[in-house]
Symmetry: C2
Subunit: 493 residues, 2 copies
């Protein structure tokens, strides 16, 4: 197959869009800003979901499901929350269509107007806290540790597949606690879960940090985040965990009888990751030949392609292939045997490269004679011959997959290290942003005004105040005012 | 805990509603007709999803995701489809809120009106077939076997938790085929998958059949279904599988190059089950003490409750309990040890009865001495003492769970057999419907008019023309016209 992908170095943005489509991950739908997640793309998302869901359950959370629709008045109950979301809400106003009297088709029935308009959830804090009011009476009902897998809608004007779409899939955790300390510990814990998932499964290194007030979630007292670095030197916010204080508890009057006999508002958190992670996964690792998938999230980890002429050769190769498949499946490796006679091996090789299958095994008649297979790694595009008598395949392949997983992570980590620059002057700051990109570690005076001004001048935002920030006296790159530690700036998705 | 459930025999409908709420399965939300699925209810739904998803994948299907919104004009492209759904569509007309000028809160921004209104999907045939147009060019692209797990919205006026809600969760399979025969085979296959799931996992026996034209899916040439019998003698449609013919392919111009070099419209199917299955599960088995869950879908299969006075006794019992838990978990049994000191054993017993946990183990100091446990079965409410030396617990418990699963199924099957009556006259028909309920097997003249008339007179509908219908000459119970086989009538949910 001809891949016809643009080169990353020539047009990164076009490369990304084309790759998402050509690798059968997603495409735009007829509805502006809404995507179709295609089977191959969805199978990667399913693997992400399975691991995240396991991690949520291991940390004591259970899943539930809350309504898609939010009464308009609910959204308004938390002042900064409605401020943050009102401008991008899809609004349901009617509940019926009818045939137009002029026979021109169906129209919205003006008589079927809702008494109160409904918002399609952009996030579920309001509908969930209105429910928690009935679930929580006493400290015995706490903590309440709930997660939801759902679709949400934010009417974005400029959309990009996976990165910014009007509808997207995500999970949103919503927890309620008896104390500020416990809620804060939960906020930190879930940021750590996200970081662990990003690094161990997606093979994407992340910086953990706090958001500045400007970048905080609408309704939160504190937003923790993980920030990843893409191959074009732009940052991508990969997950956020919010400490909500008592804001939503106050807005929805959620109080509990304390152990000590008092009555207090509940403390809350919320945290989420979305199909945006798909964008991060693609942009962090893939190359001009197509996707590069970390083995832990690859729907197909190994593909076996027979090289043959005639049925007799195919039969002999198939026998070997089935034997290997059985051995590999027993140790949990997902493997596909592509014996289609409609496509040539070269076409198949290109296809699996495009789809990011970590390991490709080719077997020809000579391999059968010699007891070898040809092994091709997707991550570094190397090929080698493997002697099957030297080591059981069910030992070698899992080890190699681990090595690839680790290698992809290290490559991304080295890239990020190389793309992280400490600067100490405004000139340097501008120069790095313009010519090198990446994270720029710099001093900032701590004010929103300065942050806004820097964004206006350079398009760079403060990605986070890193959790491992070192105390260091310095002066703000823009204003020269004193600062006690560096923050990470970057242009971002 | 006090269950305070109404009795089934006194008010079945109230019993159901109260059970759903008290067992923490679901509750009504602030949005009319939309429910909150609570953690315990959702964990049962997750078990259903996992099994169904496995069965879909084993039959060659993959998951994907299509947009929540459907342009209004799409819905109209298939004439009978829009006819069927137009009256219950939630319509998005605007995409932004703004602050009211009088300071009264947020209002819908009249300037943010959509050019074309969007329907919140009531089902996804239209948006999916508009996508398939680009995915299908040749017979090589077929069959296309896709499933989606999603939320859908149908603006129902009279709603009931799980059974009929404005928003519900479901899966919808949408497949495309090169021939009529293949599409029909798929339609039959998926009905069989649903029947197998209902009987093997839900322990609910079902009748497989065809719907009459009146009851067919809007846009289908044929609808196959599985019909279950509830304890109040009403039928419940538990799943449908539709043969769409070329209707949607024609509406969305989906053609393919045939193997023979021609060009033809694609043949389609769609099939779905929803959170309605939760209603069926509850109503088929539960009793006046609460839920009765088949072990294969029970989130907790075994609960261990310690009976103790003082810490020393609790420690000794805990040791035994952990030993048993380890052994049971190794063989895949989900088990919970409830050692909370905030509730008495009797309270816990009642709680786990309400929640439908299939097996309860109680251990007291005397049990420890004697090497016994007390075993209580939820399905038949029997208790017995089990001598731990007589058989390894990891053998006994799984066998007992299988026995319970089978027993629940047989009880439901016997009930359905008892509630299925063949009648041969209009008087008999009315009498059975009124005084006995259940399925009424009767002759019908095959016309929609007669079916409508019978519905009008008795509220009973034809649930299905059973697939195993025997050829038998008879006369229609209403019109006396000739008929060649019996169909199943019932009042239904």
């Amino acid at each position: 197959m001809s891949k016809g992908l643009p080169k990353r170095s020539e047009d990164y943005s076009l490369w990304y869009n084309e790759l998402v489509k050509k690798a059968d991950l997603a495409e735009n739908s007829a509805v502006r800003g809404c995507m179709v997640i295609k089977p191959y793309g969805y199978s990667i998302w399913e693997k992400m979901q399975a691991e995240l869901d396991r991690m949520f359950k291991e940390t004591g959370h259970t899943n539930a499901y809350f309504p898609l629709f939010i009464p308009k008045s609910y959204l308004s109950k938390e002042a900064s929350h409605v401020e943050g979301f009102a401008k991008e809400c899809a609004v349901v106003t009617h509940y019926r269509l009818k045939n137009a009297e002029d026979g021109s088709g169906v129209i919205v029935d003006p008589e079927a107007k809702l008494e109160e308009e409904l918002i399609v959830r952009p996030t579920s804090e309001t509908v969930i806290w209105s429910t928690y009011k009935n679930w929580i009476q006493s400290y015995r009902d706490l903590p309440l540790l709930v997660n939801q897998w759902a679709n949400v809608v934010r009417w974005e004007m400029r959309t990009r597949l996976f990165l910014r779409t009007a509808e997207f899939l995500w999970q949103e955790g919503h927890t309620a606690h008896a104390s500020k300390e416990e809620a804060m510990a939960e906020t930190v814990q879930m940021m750590n879960v996200y970081a662990q998932f990003a690094e161990e499964f997606m093979a994407v290194p992340v910086v953990k940090g706090r958001k500045t007030e400007n970048e905080r979630f609408a309704g939160a007292d504190e937003t923790l985040c993980i920030e990843a670095m893409m191959q074009d030197g732009k940052a991508l916010q990969a997950g956020t965990s919010h400490f909500l204080g008592q804001n939503f508890a106050k807005a929805f009057d959620v109080k509990f009888a304390t152990k000590e006999g008092g009555l207090d508002h509940v403390w809350g958190t919320s945290w989420g990751v979305s199909t945006r992670l798909m964008g991060a996964l693609i942009m962090a690792h893939s190359d001009d030949n197509g996707l590069v998938l970390p083995p832990k999230l690859a729907p197909i980890q190994v593909v076996i392609v027979p090289i043959y002429k005639g049925e007799e050769q195919l039969n002999a190769i198939s026998e070997k292939a089935y034997e290997m498949m059985t051995a590999l499946r027993k140790v949990g490796v997902s493997v596909k045997f592509d014996d289609r006679d409609t496509h040539k091996p070269g076409w198949k090789f290109a296809e699996y490269e495009l789809k990011g299958v970590p390991l490709r095994i080719a077997i020809g008649p000579r391999d059968l004679e010699n007891g070898t297979i040809e092994l091709a790694r997707r991550d570094n595009l190397t090929k080698s011959s493997f002697d099957l008598s030297s080591e059981p395949i069910e030992v070698m392949i899992p080890r190699l997959l681990d090595e690839i997983q680790q290698g992809i992570y290290e490559k991304a980590l080295n890239f990020r290290t190389e793309k992280t620059t400490e600067v100490n002057s405004w000139e340097e700051f501008q120069d790095v942003l313009e010519n090198k990109g990446g994270f720029v570690s710099a001093h900032w005076d701590g004010t929103s005004e300065t942050e806004d001004k820097i964004k206006e001048l350079t398009k760079a935002t403060i990605r986070c105040i890193p959790l491992d920030q070192k105390e260091e006296d310095g002066t703000c790159i823009l204003t020269g005012k004193p600062s006690t530690g560096r923050v990470y700036f970057a242009k971002a998705y």
